[in-house]
């Protein structure tokens, strides 16, 4: 699998957690930033359209920071 210091940790959220996130931000899937289904960093999850990917970034300002992308 692709491993690189530039790639932050990616995680596929299950249905329950996805709903939680959408509720937390009060948005629909359409409004999330997107990630391609064939993105090398998420190939291992065999992503389907509409899956929400949680990205754990190492931010220079806040340390660990969470970011979400929807598979498009």
């Amino acid at each position: 699998m692709v491993e690189h210091t530039l790639i932050p940790e990616h995680k596929k959220l299950n249905e329950e957690d996805s709903e939680k996130i959408l509720k937390k931000f009060n948005i629909s899937r359409k409004q999330l930033p997107k990630i391609k289904a064939n993105d090398p960093a998420i190939l291992k999850f065999e992503p389907k359209k509409g899956d929400i990917i949680e990205i754990i970034r190492e931010s220079p300002t806040t340390g660990k920071s969470l970011f979400y992308r929807v598979v498009a």
């Binding site: 692709v2 491993e3 690189h4 210091t5 530039l6 790639i7 932050p8 990616h10 930033p33 997107k34 990630i35 391609k36 993105d39 090398p40 960093a41 998420i42 990205i55 970034r57 931010s59 220079p60 300002t61 806040t62 340390g63 660990k64 920071s65 992308r69 498009a72």
Partner: protein
């Protein structure tokens, strides 16, 4: 112990670590007070909904950019390598040009390679692209036999560790329909089908630039010692082939072309490289732009899952509103297209409302009034 930190989960990790460090030796209740204050201050420091952060970013880049403009064409970097710096590079980066004007790959090496000078040199030599003309002394025609004869430079070949059989095999593979034979240091190359004289001449030119060894497109390779290890800089963005070279640490090696990174490592890695490159350029110029602005720009550029530049074909084309798109560049094209397909503009954003002399949905213009009427009041009115 940990529960008191969980209560203030809005405080970011880095600040939390700082507090933990600073409140060492404090008792629980005063630590809680500190956390509460920090939590409050953090909420206050957050950007308010409706704040026009785009324009703040634009201004933050614009002002130092005027200082950068005076020192654009500087050549610097490692060893004799030239690098585009300053405003030119910044524009190139944010416009998302497909390939940078000076591609550069920074190769990190694996354990067992990175401290050994001889191994580093060997890897550097194996990466550099060697063409047939680099290892040969003379190209000549033999018209009676209708073939090309190439006199190989044995000394050069020995240095680069290339054998005659290797050259013959590579040529046979890369250029089809050729009859290649090695005769004690002279290659006899004959096209299988009889060709015209000009065809033979074209073949000679092709042969000169036939790749024998190395990674395609690598012209310059410079090993550099950094701290305790060697790093190899090379002028290419062909990361895919570099990863295949033995000894290269494919978990650290990077290039300055975000598109290549996006293809190989994904959009998040591309976002990171955009930030790193921009920070590097700005730092090199002795300027200081808050990294949050750069992170914001990189986020916008990678929002759609692919890299989009800050241009009319990039992020501006993603805008929903016709009028917003028309206000940036090529207005007639956008308006004509929109009228042809019957596009609707909901006037949700800023610029289209400015055009129509309406309040913009920004800052205090953003919130709408929502009131829940008491039931009696509604009833009373009806009476």
């Amino acid at each position: 112990m940990s529960s008191i930190y969980e209560e203030f989960s809005n405080i970011p990790e880095s600040s939390m670590n700082e507090i933990k460090e600073l409140t060492k030796g404090m008792d629980q209740s005063s630590r809680k007070k500190v956390l509460k204050r920090v939590s409050e201050e953090y909420e206050k420091a957050k950007i308010n909904p409706g704040e026009a952060i785009g324009i703040i970013t634009a201004e933050s880049f614009g002002e130092p950019g005027t200082q950068m403009i005076l020192r654009v064409f500087h050549f610097a970097g490692v060893a004799e390598m030239s690098l585009t710096l300053g405003l030119t590079r910044l524009i190139e980066l944010f416009d998302a040009r497909k390939s940078p004007s000076t591609p550069l790959t920074k190769i990190y090496l694996k354990h067992g390679y990175k401290t050994d000078v001889d191994k580093v040199k060997a890897i550097a030599a194996s990466i550099k692209e060697t063409k047939l003309k680099d290892i040969s002394d003379e190209f000549s025609f033999n018209l009676t036999q209708f073939r090309i004869e190439v006199l190989l430079n044995k000394k050069e070949m020995k240095e680069l560790k290339i054998t005659e059989t290797h050259v013959v095999n590579v040529l046979k593979e890369s250029l089809k329909d050729l009859d290649v034979k090695d005769d004690n240091g002279t290659l006899r190359i004959k096209p299988k089908e009889k060709d015209s004289l000009s065809g033979l001449y074209k073949l000679k030119e092709k042969l000169k630039y036939a790749a024998i060894k190395g990674v395609k497109g690598v012209e310059q390779v410079t090993p550099v010692k950094q701290e305790n290890e060697y790093i190899i800089y090379c002028t290419t963005d062909n990361l895919k082939d570099i990863f295949k070279v033995e000894g290269v640490d494919e978990t650290k090696t990077t290039t300055n072309n975000p598109f290549v990174i996006a293809d190989l490592l994904g959009i998040e890695a591309a976002r990171k490289i955009i930030i790193d490159e921009a920070v590097e350029v700005i730092k090199n110029q002795g300027l200081d732009i808050d990294i949050r602005h750069i992170m914001f720009l990189a986020d916008v550029m990678t929002n759609t899952g692919v890299i989009k530049g800050i241009t009319r074909t990039g992020i501006t084309s993603e805008k929903e509103s016709v009028l917003a798109r028309a206000s940036f560049e090529t207005p007639i094209k956008h308006i004509v297209n929109a009228s042809l397909i019957g596009e609707v503009d909901n006037l949700n954003s800023v610029i289209e409302n400015v055009m129509l002399n309406q309040p913009v949905p920004l800052g205090t213009g953003l919130p709408d009034l929502v009131a829940t009427m008491k039931e009696d009041a509604v009833k009373g009115k009806k009476k």
